[in-house]
């Protein structure tokens, strides 16, 4: 496909969708959203890119092997669960802490957020892996 309209629109839309997907993931704990939707949105952004331009360019712009993204996601999710074991608590016990960030105030961080990041990466990775493999050749 070689549509200039789609390509130009993609250039503007893609960063927006990607930022939105991250917002979705981060706000998921308190408002609608979460790692799953976030990952799907991010995958949609890249899928748009792959359709508008070509899959090779999309792969290049992602930089990482998609399978590594899936593996990293699984690792994030798993380590979020294992961290509590090190503290002598059952697997997947949520651990939380307040971090003071200058200029922002207190940020509430916890292992479930790391877990959600893992879900985000896995969903992004698998969806793109399927889409890009199908678009290629």
């Amino acid at each position: 496909m070689n549509s200039i309209i789609l390509q130009t629109a993609t250039r503007f839309l893609m960063p927006l969708i990607l930022v939105f997907s991250v917002v979705m993931m981060l706000q998921g704990h308190n408002k609608p959203g979460g790692g799953f939707v976030g990952g799907l949105l991010a995958a949609a952004a890249f899928a748009l890119h792959a359709l508008a331009f070509n899959p090779a360019e999309t792969r290049a712009s992602i930089r990482f092997d998609l399978r590594s993204i899936i593996a990293t996601g699984l690792l994030c999710a798993l380590s979020a669960g294992v961290l509590s074991l090190a503290q002598g608590m059952p697997l997947f016990t949520g651990l939380w802490m307040d971090v003071a960030v200058p200029g922002v105030g207190h940020v509430h961080l916890g292992t479930p957020m790391l877990f959600d990041l893992g879900v985000y990466l896995v969903v992004l990775g698998i969806t793109l892996l399927m889409v890009i493999s199908l678009v290629e050749d």
């Binding site: 979460g34 799907l40 949609a44 916890g110 969903v123 990775g125 892996l129 493999s133 199908l134 678009v135």
Partner: protein
Amino acid sequence: MTLLAVVISGFLLAIGAPLVARVLGRALPGVPSLAGWVLAALPAAIAVWLVMQVSSVGHGETISVVYPWVPGLGIDLAFMLDGLSLLFALLISGIGALIFIYAGGYMAGHPHQGRLYAFLLFFMGSMLGVVLASNVLTLFVFWELTSISSYLLIGFDHRRAAARAAALQALLVTGLGGLAMLAGLLLMGQVAGTYSISEMLASPEVFRSHALYVPIVILVVLGCFTKSAQFPFHFWLPGAMEAPTPISAYLHSSTMVKAGIYLLARMTPLLGGTELWQWLLTGAGAVTMVVGAVLAMRESYLKRLLAYSTVSALGIITMGLGIGTTGAIEGAIAFLLAHAFYKGSLFMVAGAIDHETGEKNVDKLSGLRASMPLLAIVALLAGASLAGLVPFAGFVAKEMVLEGTLHASELGPAAPALLTGALLLAAALLFVVAGLVTVKPFFGGARPTPKKAHEPPVSLLLGPLVLAGLGVVIVFVPGVLADPLIGPAASVVVGEALHTHFALWHGVTLALGLSAAALLAGLGLYVARGKWFGLMSRFAWVDRVSPSAVYAGTLRFVGELAVSQTRLLQNGKLRDYLITILLTTILIVGYPLVAMVGAPSFERLAPLHWFDVAIAGLILLSSIAAVTSGSRLMAIIALGLAGLGVTMFYVIYAAPDLALTQISIEALSVVLFVLVFRRLPDFRSLSTARSKVRDALIACAGGAMMGALVLMATSFASDKSVSRELAERSYPEGHGRNVVNVILVDFRALDTMGEITVLALAALGVYSLLKMRRRPEVGAEAAGLEVGRGAGVGPAVGSGEVSA
């Protein structure tokens, strides 16, 4: 603590062994056997520590440690060192040290040397775990680990199909026995109310009088017999000779095949002493002893000859344990010790001959004593012990077993004569084996060999020399190794303190005379072998009815069964899969729904709004359009529209998370469908009217079933306590106001973890199917299947149902 280290250290070093081998190989390439010498330090250290315990254990002391493992199920990581485990552990670690040195020389320059060391250490740790475990479930875990490590070791040369088949055979046979044994051990645990062996030993009589005694004995004995290659499970052992020689010498002569013997000995105080036990062990042992020795006569390859003689020796030991008198048990333990020395040595000699001449066929070996005189002496020392000549350990041990069979009158009046006769026959045939393995290759006129024969290096000589030497030392200085080991080990089996004496001279006894007669018969058979070996080939028909033929037939049958049922169920037609899945679901959900719940009620439904009707109409119309449309693109867009209709319901009834997920899924599904359709041939309607009607009926039934299910679910006043509790705990405990998300990433995080793992695997499956370039049509079809599944799995994480 030290005891735990003894077991665990092998596993830990196994992880680092390949690195050690590589680093040493790079640092000192001139000494390729160096890694073997270095890694031998661990088994040697373990052996030294065990030797230091000999005197205290000999006085009846027991070292034991217990670490709770799964306390709720009564499973402990428990180890103990008593006379019996000390003997076995010492054999495992002591011979292990020699094997590592030998392996260093044997595998010098092999690219996967490090892997061999890792597997060997893994095996050593598992084996030490088996003999030191004092909890039957701990024992079982290590028992299985020996099967697994032995699989890896036999199949070490994994590029050869024969090695792979032999490894699988050993794994299947011992694994099958292992499963039977697990059942037996669990029954024992139920009967005794504990899994601890030491606690079972406190009241051993509960087993013999219990109703489950017979099944327990049969199951446990099955595990032991498969592991120790007793007839009819003996056939995997000669097959396992596919492994490199260090492995055969270690696993298949002196250690792993003795695991079954160990367990039989360990279980004797608990399960032994009954007629069933005595007959099972004595019978199987005697048959194995004779069958192994006779089958050896048909072999001409060094290692296979030795393997069959090992089968025979294992039979002798089992028979001794079965007879059950104090003398017979002492004899069995003494034979075990003597056999470990000479057989380990002989395997290493056979490997050294093969390594230095490139020839393993006895018929083609002759006159090697000129080119390798040291190895010839070592071989003769060990061979004399195998033959049962005076004054070697094999002779003393055989005399002790003979005394046992001569006094086996407890088994019936004919038993002593029968068992003694069988033992003498086996002894005569083992004499022939000894001659073939240690005299034939070294004497006579020299023959050319594939490689120029020369004396093996120190690393290949040390192991066999030490073991063969020990076979002499224990006879002349029994107080050093034989008496302190055999007595305490036999005491554990018999249950009372024994002071066995490994004496060369018992006076002029009946056993001595019979033994001499057997030796003469063996000598005659060996000298006249040219006249009767040819007869063995007449019995080729035995192979067609042998247990190994049964094994091969079973394996082939299972394979064919798998192929035929795969052809039936996995025929590659997506529509058949859908029909199967839908019909099964309709049946197993619909039947109980109708039979047990009755007709759905419409009473508790919320009042209908005009927009509900409008959206439902939209969904219905787009579904009809999807089915009737003449173009795929149309169908997909219509399907997407139906999905959007469902999304609207979610929005109206305040399920924003579901709506969000659903809409993303719908968008991506359309993209994926379009991409898949690019690969399909042009759209044509090929279905017959009949199949269309059939599909429509199934689809309608599926829809009706789902509808009824939803109606049924809403017609009950649902219990809100669970959702209320989750909502209440969400913020204080999960630190989030979005209950759905808190459930997914915190409360039920383990479920989500499982789901994303499945997703990742499914995606890798799709990826590999798409990358199968050679058969693109298969890839496209399978991708279509996976897309459907992908959209179906997704909502399990994020939302409710999606009708993809």
